[in-house]
């Protein structure tokens, strides 16, 4: 199933603009805390683990495994909603695309890709490796 329709547009704010700018360039950014060392998602300027403001962007390798998924069947065409656990640790909500939906499995390895979103942004999604 190819995801041919544009995904809904994200609405960046000053705290998250860099994430979406990086996505336009095909890079997936996470956030890492210098104080406690934890990597988190979605990105915040204040660490949700230790509350330090000493956080910085970290580029993900873009690989991980499907943690959970569901085939959504109520729209015009079915698609896969999923959580992917990145190799850096955090999990994120996403879609699994460009694949046979019936073949998806929890634990399956995936890598990030970027699909057109609204307002000229590109949305990180994942494709089975």
């Amino acid at each position: 199933m190819t995801l041919d329709a544009a995904l809904p547009a994200p609405q960046p704010n000053p705290e998250t603009q860099a994430y979406w700018d990086a996505a336009k360039q095909g890079r997936l950014l996470l956030r890492r805390c210098n104080a406690c060392g934890e990597v988190h998602f979605y990105p915040r300027s204040i660490c949700p683990f230790c509350f330090s403001d000493d956080t910085h962007w970290l580029e993900s390798k873009g690989t991980g495994a499907i943690y959970a998924y569901s085939i959504m069947r109520r729209g015009l065409y079915p698609f896969a909603l999923a959580y992917v656990t990145l190799d850096e640790g955090p999990s994120l909500m996403t879609n699994i695309v460009d694949c046979d939906l019936a073949s998806l499995r929890i634990g399956q390895r995936v890598r990030v890709a970027f699909k057109p979103g609204g307002n000229g942004y590109r949305i990180p999604v994942f494709i089975p490796i």
Binding site: P8, Y42, A68, S70, R73, R74, L81, S91, M93
Partner: protein, 396 residues
């Protein structure tokens, strides 16, 4: 004695309608308020505390919020609590009312819920997170582009539970089967037909692995509760139902640490049981939030009715059916068959627990000697962010 043990649920009312084409939202709030006060044997002028959540007229949609409904009802208050915890709000309100009564802030607390999503054309499996919470939430830009729906989010919990513990669609189906066995006796239930495991697993997939019959109904109407002080309770004629334990916990994915096969009930449950001084084995009847079959299964595990991962075996073979199984659950037919007004199931969970404790449940589902009951609400979306509320109620 904990604060919660100083209050009684004296009035209950579940609106009989399931489709309110000819009524306004505020009108439904007023009708359920009248019903619960009449059930208690009290009048509007007795009410000095009011509790409401995001379903009130003029709140979920642009407007002036809870003051609109207070004005509409004509309440004279010295205590107001507008705690919003989605579908679990009304269990939180009972706990907060008990605390407010114990603190002397009010004597007669009115709690209302109303809504008319069915009259407004909502259909199963279509409610998006964007509609549920709007675009301003900090996580919205990282989730909404992926088009999550409420059922899709719960479906991922079910998929993960199956992966970790071997739970099956047939086991989940037993939860719906039990609800349907109960609903056949409820003349107001939206779905009164008894269904089989095969009916559930053969119904269309909405979001794998959840089928249409794994999903709760969409209904209009609502309900109300009246929580009172011991002095007021003693002056009333209905069997007295005391709030003896309450626990609350929000749960979310801390910084992206996914753990979606358990709910906040892992924390709210032990808090409520500790306050009440009882254990899961003591509970005679349980109202368990049933937005989807998987919601019930995970909650039963988290509350300690069985071990984590063993929910599938626990719910199978009719174990939740009154008169058949070990733990009668949702004897009104629950959200799966009876009523899920305004997409918020917490109110009806409390109402049926009080019916059971009073001996007012339908004779075909009434639990014998039901003197201790639990009610649990799950508000929000289980895998992302939700609030779990547990109440333990005792017949005096």
């Amino acid at each position: 004695m904990p604060a919660a043990a100083k209050a009684y649920i004296a009035g209950i009312y579940e609106h009989p309608t399931r489709k309110a084409d000819g009524k306004s939202l505020a009108q439904l709030h007023a009708e359920v308020a009248r019903g619960a006060l009449a059930d208690a044997g009290l009048s509007k002028s007795d009410v000095d505390g009011y509790f409401c959540a995001g379903d009130v007229a003029g709140w979920e949609r642009p407007g002036s919020g809870p003051f609109s409904i207070i004005d509409y009802l004509g309440l004279k208050l010295r205590h107001l609590d507008t705690t919003e915890s989605w579908g679990s709000s009304y269990l939180v309100h009972v706990a907060h009312a008990a605390e407010a009564i114990a603190a002397g802030k009010c004597n007669v607390a009115l709690i209302t819920l109303a809504g008319r999503p069915r009259a407004e054309g909502m259909q199963t499996g279509t409610k998006t997170e964007a509609e549920a919470k709007g675009l301003d939430a900090p996580e919205a830009q990282f989730e909404l582009p992926y088009r999550p729906t409420v059922v899709g989010l719960y479906a991922m919990c079910a998929m993960r539970h199956m992966y970790e513990f071997g739970t099956t669609s047939e086991q989940l189906a037993w939860i719906k089967v039990a609800a349907s066995h109960h609903a056949q006796h409820n003349p107001h239930a939206l779905l009164r037909e008894v269904v089989t495991v095969e009916d559930v697993v053969n119904s269309p997939l909405i979001a794998d692995p959840l089928h249409r019959l794994d999903c709760c109904v969409i209904t209009d109407g609502g309900g109300a509760l009246v929580v009172v002080s011991p002095d007021v309770a003693k002056s009333l004629s209905k069997p007295r139902v005391r709030v003896i334990g309450a626990g609350y916990a929000p749960k979310y994915q801390l910084g992206g640490r996914a753990d979606i096969t358990s709910s906040g009930a892992i924390w709210s449950g032990p808090r409520a049981f500790a306050e009440a001084g009882v254990t899961p084995a003591d509970i005679k009847y349980a109202s368990i939030y049933d937005s989807f079959t998987i919601t019930v299964l995970i909650t039963l595990e988290d509350l300690g009715f069985c071990r984590k991962g063993e929910g599938g075996k626990f719910v199978a073979d009719g174990n939740l059916i009154a008169g058949v199984g070990r733990l009668p659950v949702n004897t009104d037919g629950g959200g799966l068959c009876n009523n899920h007004p305004s997409n918020r199931g917490g109110m009806t969970k409390v109402i049926e627990a009080v019916r059971q404790l009073r001996g007012e449940a339908h004779p075909m589902v009434q639990v014998k000697n039901c003197d201790l009951a639990l009610a649990h609400g799950t508000g929000g979306a289980l895998p992302t962010r939700h609030g779990s509320a547990t109440l333990i109620l005792e017949r005096e």
